[in-house]
Symmetry: C2
Subunit: 230 residues, 2 copies
C-alpha cells in the first residue's frame, strides 16, 4: 500500500482531472461497447451466440457502474466526465459500422484489445484504487476466446472471409488511432496525467509517442490469433 | 423449509416437466426483454436515459443466468427448455414493434407487469427453490418507477401522447393474452403444473380461466399509474 503518495495524488487537482478524464473514457467506452454488443446480439446467428453476446453486453454495463462508483468517490459525476469524449467515440462508431455478425465480433475483439492495451499503459500512472478498478474492468472473462474460436471457424468454412476481415481490422485500428490522437491533442488533463509532474512519475512526449507505436505493434499478434493478416 | 414435499415434487416427472417449462418461459422472456431494452437504449433521447435502460437490459441478462443455473440444478438445459416458446415470443415481438422511445417504455412496463402477475400466480404451484428464484427475478428494482415518471412527463408535455399510448397498451395486452393462451393450449406440462395432482395442489380449469381474467384486470390500474386509460 502506497497510501501516502496516493492520497497526495488524488488531492492534487491536476492529477485528479487526468484520472477523471481516464475514467470518463472508460465509462463512455463501456457504454459504446454495450451498444455494439447489443446490436451484435440482435443479429447473432444462433440463440447460443445471442446469449453469449448478450452476456458480454451486460458485463459492459457492470463495468460502467463500477467506473461510475469510482468517479463518485473522486467527487466527479459520470455524465460530466464522459462529455469530453462523446465526439471521438461517436465518430469512431460512425466510421466503423460492422456490416455483419463477423465484422461485429472483430470490432469487439480489436476494440477491446486496443482499449485494454491503452488502459494498461495508462494505469501505471494512476493511484492504486483507480489502477485496481482499471484492471478489474479490463479482465475480459474469456470473451476474447469466444471471438477467436468463432472467427477461426468462419475462416475455416470460407477462406474468402479472411481477406475481408483483415481489411476490416486495419480500418478499425486506423480509426482508433486517429480518434485516440485527437483525444490526446484535445485533453491537456489526460496528457498531463501521462507526462507526470516533479512529484509524480510520468512519460515524456517521446515516450507517449512510443506508447502509440506499441499499441499498433500489439495489433498484429491479435489479428494473427484470429487467423488474420494485420 | 418444506424439504420433504419439495423433493418429492422435483422427483415427480410430470411436475418437473412443468417447472422446466415455466423456467424456459422465464429464460426466453428475459432474453426477449433484453433485446427490447437494448433497442430502447439505442434510441434513448438522453445519455442518462440510455444508461438507465442499458442497466435494465443488463438486469435481464442476470435473470437469464440465474434461471439457467436453476434449470441446470433440475438437470435441464436452458436452450432446450426455451425451444417450445420461441414461436409464441417471436410472434409477440413481431406483432408489437414499438415505433418510438415512449412505445418502447410502455412495452417494457406492460410486458413486465403482465409477466410478473403471471409468474406470481404460477409460483404458488412450484417447489420452494423455484418459487424463490421466480420472486427474485420479478423484483424490478425500481425500473417501473422510471417508466412511470418518464411517460407521465411526456403526457404532461403533450396531451396527444396519452391517446396513442393507451391504444398501444391495449394492443400489447391483447397480443400477450393471445400468445399466453396459445402456450397454455400447446403445453400440457405447463397446464398440468397449474391443475396439479392428487399429491400436489393446483387450480381446476375454471380457476385457470379466472387467473387470465385477473391478469387482464390488473392491466387497468397499471395503465392508470402511467396516466393512461386502459
Amino acid at each position: 500500500m502506497e497510501n501516502g503518495p496516493v492520497e497526495f495524488w488524488v488531492a492534487d487537482a491536476e492529477y485528479r482531472h487526468g484520472a477523471v478524464d481516464l475514467l470518463g473514457i472508460l465509462a463512455y467506452g463501456a457504454l459504446a461497447a454495450f451498444e455494439r454488443l447489443a446490436e451484435d446480439a440482435r443479429r447473432a446467428p444462433t440463440l447460443a451466440d445471442k446469449v453469449r453476446v448478450a452476456s458480454m453486453a451486460a458485463t459492459q454495463v457492470t463495468h460502467f457502474e463500477r467506473v461510475r462508483e469510482r468517479l463518485s468517490e473522486l467527487d466527479a459525476e459520470v455524465m460530466a466526465a464522459m462529455r469530453p469524449f462523446h465526439t471521438a467515440f461517436n465518430a469512431y462508431h460512425d466510421h466503423t459500422r460492422p456490416k455483419d455478425w463477423l465484422e461485429g465480433l472483430v470490432w469487439t475483439y480489436v476494440g477491446n484489445g486496443f482499449a485494454a492495451d491503452f488502459y494498461r499503459e495508462v494505469a501505471a500512472f494512476v493511484d492504486a484504487d483507480t489502477r485496481a478498478l482499471v484492471h478489474e474492468v479490463l479482465d475480459d472473462q474469456g470473451q476474447a476466446e469466444f471471438v477467436v474460436e468463432t472467427v477461426r471457424a468462419a475462416i475455416a468454412a470460407d477462406r474468402k472471409v479472411a481477406g475481408r476481415l483483415a481489411l476490416w481490422g486495419r480500418r478499425l485500428v486506423g480509426e482508433a488511432l486517429s480518434q485516440a490522437q485527437r483525444v490526446a491533442a484535445d485533453r491537456d488533463a489526460l496528457t498531463s496525467l501521462l507526462t507526470g509532474t516533479v512529484d509524480r512519475p510520468g512519460m515524456d512526449l517521446a515516450a507517449i509517442s512510443r506508447m502509440f507505436t506499441r499499441l499498433v505493434e500489439n495489433h498484429s499478434p491479435r489479428m494473427a490469433r484470429l487467423g488474420l493478416q494485420a
